[in-house]
Amino acid sequence: MPVAMATAESDSRLIERVGRGDRDAFEQLYRRFARPVLAMAVRQLGDHGRAEDAAQETFAAVWRSARSYRSERGSASAWLYAVARHAIIDRARQRREQAAEIPDEASADAGPDQRAEESWLTWRVHAALEQLPERERAVIELAYWSGLSQAEIASYLDVPLGTVKTRTRTGLARLSGLLDEVRE
């Protein structure tokens, strides 16, 4: 079940409204999915500037093609993921075409299958993180991606260490429940 299933109906409705040219719906959709799209693009392209371009192209494509979305064919989240993935692949392809030299050795980069799996994982995790309460999401993101210790996070957020530990554990447990919904 896709990660956004809890809000799948509203996501679907938003895309359908976007398909009718509703700009408010488009902004809501953007706020809901901008971070997962950008996270996936950064992960795949490894460059913030190009990732930003790919994210912009994703939402431009959503605006252009929302009319073609059919909820009976699949979830809104999966449709958005597919649109984003195409935009990112296009951006990666442009870079390859710009490269003038052919490397002497085989690339150590992940192959297409592995990249697809990684991008799906990144999408699911960051879409699930978006659903956590802000106070839990903040401690998890700081713990995993800022390099700060739990004590340093407590100092940074100006809360007791015990609060950081409680929020971290509660957030991880909540995230587990959200990611369970993702299992196919």
């Binding site: 930003e52 699911r124 995993y144 800022s146 210790s149 340093e152 971290t168 991880l172 447990a173 587990s176």
Partner: protein, 194 residues
């Protein structure tokens, strides 16, 4: 030293085997997923806001606007050089604190007056950070709620290093200064509250 947190430190000891298995699975997925983009860049938000709006900025108008801006910049830069008005007065200094990743580092941000153009002049003094090789460099950036929000520029170090920088943002929109290496998932090295 690993950039990743210790699982046991995060979840503690008082877990049932089922809970531990469940949280370990989430822990592995978070490590594999990589970092989030933190704050959504303003340029992307603005670009998305323009999607669907009437197209005012045609390619021709953009080229003309860029040419006009370049001409104005050249004129004002020339006047500035001609009058020799390049002294900067600093109105505040912010001492940055090292994290556990760089206990011997120190940094001082000297904050100038906000110019009429909206830019803050900054002088960054750094000590104790190791020089980075090749294309690697450090970055001074602004954080909001613990996440990347805007950059003030990149720099390399060689012993005591002094760098002129600039911020064109409202500092009250942010809550911390951070120095880290300029790469995904880089640990924070120095921080200061705004």
């Amino acid at each position: 030293m690993s950039d990743q947190p210790d699982f046991r430190e995060l979840v503690g000891e008082e877990l049932t085997p089922e809970e531990e298995l469940e949280l370990a699975r989430v822990d592995a997925m978070l490590r594999a997923a990589g970092p989030p983009p933190a704050e959504i860049p303003g340029s992307l938000t603005r670009a998305v806001e323009r999607i669907g709006a009437p197209r005012i900025w045609t390619r021709r108008r953009v080229v003309l606007a860029v040419a006009l801006a370049a001409a104005l910049a050249a004129v004002f830069f020339g006047i500035g050089r001609w009058t020799g008005n390049d002294s900067t007065h600093y109105r505040a200094a912010v001492q940055m604190q090292p994290t556990g990743r760089s206990p011997n580092a120190s940094a001082l941000i000297k904050l100038g007056e906000r110019e009429p153009s909206g830019n803050w002049k900054l002088e960054l003094q750094v000590d104790g950070l190791p020089p980075l090789s090749g294309d690697h460099y450090y970055v001074l950036w602004l954080a909001k709620d613990g996440k990347y929000a805007a950059t003030c520029g990149s720099f390399k170090v060689q012993g005591h290093t002094v760098v002129d920088m600039n911020a064109s943002y409202r500092l009250s929109d942010y809550d911390a200064w951070v120095i880290s290496e300029a790469r995904a998932n880089a640990p924070w090295l120095l921080t200061a509250r705004i």
